[in-house]
């Protein structure tokens, strides 16, 4: 709709307020990570300061790279397994006909919705029996509890949008059932696969609850490193904002990259979007 000048001014003023609310904490975090301790601890907040990289330097000197590796390994491998099995199962779910399919679908989605604190409890005991505490493998398995049902559901939503006639046509041409999936359906859902992979990566990269319970000295991830800065000798806001920037920046970038498909992904396909 077109608007008069007064309405326009009001609309953009409201938008400015919303943007302030959203962006100020993030901008403040990034700015603070470049402030010297003196500027950081000034009781009057200031936008003007001489930038320094000392907090980032200190983080990498104190072994941040190890945490980055643990995070990348745990989140990356869990994502690869979830997306691979999720593609197969999502396709299967969208094309198969068998009795009780609704119940299977409900069961899959209900595992995704289980409260994290309630999932952690039995997993903790089972991991203790299996010797999986303080191991990256344990974290990968823990992340699969939410990534796998999620990947199945979104891939199901993306495959359900493809008309089955495409694969049928390929089979008439002589392709086998699996070739029809592999050569026709799978490439057509490439945007869905990328979206699924990125969201699985974001969920597991951002996880704190599982990592704080299951990880030990050998498997701690970046969010754990961040929270530890807060409890050791006082509160090191410089390093904390620096590590915050390191954790957050890559996820915002990849998240915005799949913005077009986010609605479908985050609603498990329940809202189709544009």
């Amino acid at each position: 709709m077109r608007h008069g000048t007064v309405t326009k001014v009001l609309l953009y003023a409201a938008l400015a307020l919303v943007l302030l609310w959203t962006v100020v904490p993030l901008v403040w975090m990034v700015l603070s990570s470049f402030k010297s301790p003196n500027d950081l601890l000034a009781t009057t907040p200031s936008l003007f300061f001489t930038p320094t990289l000392e907090h980032y330097g200190a983080l990498f000197q104190s072994g941040l790279w190890g945490y980055v590796q643990n995070s990348l390994l745990a989140a990356g491998i869990s994502t690869i397994i979830a997306v691979t099995l999720g593609c197969l199962a999502g396709y299967g779910l969208s094309r198969a006909h068998f009795r009780g399919k609704d119940h299977v679908a409900f069961w899959i989605i209900s595992t995704r919705m289980a409260p994290i604190a309630a999932v952690i409890l039995p997993l903790f005991i089972l991991f203790r029996y299996a010797g999986l505490l303080d191991s990256t493998l344990g974290l990968i398995i823990a992340y699969l509890t939410f990534n796998l049902p999620f990947a199945i559901w979104i891939m199901n939503a993306f495959f359900a949008d493809l008309p089955p006639s495409l694969e049928e046509a390929a089979m008439v041409e002589g392709a086998t059932r699996f070739e029809a999936f592999w050569r026709i359906a799978l490439p057509l859902t490439a945007p869905g696969i990328v979206t699924t992979a990125i969201l699985c990566l974001v969920f597991s990269w951002n996880d704190y609850a599982f990592a704080v319970t299951f990880a030990g000295p050998d498997s701690q991830t970046l969010p754990i490193a961040a929270s530890q800065l807060n409890t050791q000798t006082g509160l090191n806001w410089g390093q904390l904002t620096a590590i915050g920037t390191i954790v957050v920046a890559p996820m915002i970038l990849v998240g915005l990259a799949v913005r077009r498909y986010l609605v479908k992904g985050l609603t498990l396909g329940a809202v189709t979007g544009e």
Partner: protein, 300 residues
């Protein structure tokens, strides 16, 4: 058909390929979910001890009777309900409002949307830690402004009422964008020509909103509400790193209580019973979600 085993319906001649493709994921998911599920039920009837390996002592309904009579845990349920209604409620109102606002904005809509979406990708633990930084009574930006304007001069996370409000607002900051995104997608399905016709006929903005826009986005708004409800009971990271349930019990919602019962007091059997209570709630929401999917013809 080229192959004689690819008939629709699979059926008589063994399992179809489509069903086989489901199997690896389902087997893994069963190991990851059914096994722990049965295990947590078993735990809830026992006193579980971690000292010297793991030992179980069958105590029957003891944990369960405790669950319904323990005033401390009942208090946590009540606080959870307040936290849940406040976060989800504020997020719905703000999210729908911001979506309607963006829908009216032509120049810069997509740039603004990108900025608005950013909080969703921030790790909740960072939201919590950043929240602590901003509300720190000595160095915090937000605390400084509240103090300077005289709006609030006490320690934000150290005072029960403002601590609860602060953690609620942190959750609102992170998840309002999700509602905005979903509702905005719903708004794009409202036919523009009908709106313009109504405009020419003299319908004002509120009339159009009530009679034309709202009916076409109501379904999407309910989906957004359910998605957010499921996650609101799942997550606890923000509170875990900001107040850890304090001051006193002011922010001790039920997931925090469960975690503390299990991993601070090591009362694992009782924690299992609390966890099953939470699970019951999320299954109810999941059921509603599936029913709405079906009514909208989305789950086949």
């Amino acid at each position: 058909m080229a192959s004689n085993t690819t008939e629709k319906g699979g059926g008589r001649r063994g399992i179809s390929l489509e069903t086989k493709m489901l199997l690896p994921a389902l087997v893994l998911l069963a190991v990851l979910s059914l096994f722990p599920f049965v295990y947590i039920i078993f735990m809830s009837f026992n006193t579980v001890s971690l000292i010297g390996g793991i030992s179980f002592e069958w105590t029957g309904m003891e944990n369960w009777t405790r669950l319904f009579t323990d005033s401390v845990v009942l208090g946590s349920w009540a606080r959870s309900a307040i936290y849940f209604i406040a976060t989800v409620g504020i997020e719905m109102v703000l999210g729908v409002g911001i979506a309607l606002l963006l829908n009216e904005i032509i120049a810069g809509r997509y740039a603004a949307l990108s900025l608005i979406l950013m909080p969703m990708f921030v790790a909740p633990v960072i939201v919590g830690l950043l929240g602590r930084f901003l509300t720190d009574s000595t160095y915090g930006l937000y605390a400084y402004f509240l103090n300077a304007t005289g709006l609030y001069t006490q320690d934000i996370l150290g005072t029960p009422g403002s601590a609860l409000l602060a953690v609620i607002l942190m959750d609102v900051w992170e998840w309002t964008p999700l509602i905005t995104l979903i509702v905005l997608a719903g708004l794009s399905s409202v036919p523009v020509s009908v709106l313009e016709a109504a405009n020419i006929d003299g319908a004002n903005y509120w009339q159009r909103l009530r009679h034309m826009v709202w009916p076409s986005i109501a379904g999407v708004v309910i989906v957004a509400l359910l998605i957010r409800s499921m996650d609101a009971i799942r997550y606890f990271d923000i509170i875990f790193v900001t107040t850890n349930g304090g001051p006193g019990n002011a922010t001790k919602i039920i997931p925090i209580r469960l975690y503390e019962t299990a991993f601070r007091f090591f009362d694992l059997g009782y924690a299992a019973a609390i966890g099953l209570g939470m699970l019951a709630f999320s299954i109810i929401v999941a059921n509603l979600f599936m029913r709405i999917l079906k009514n909208r013809g989305l789950a086949k």
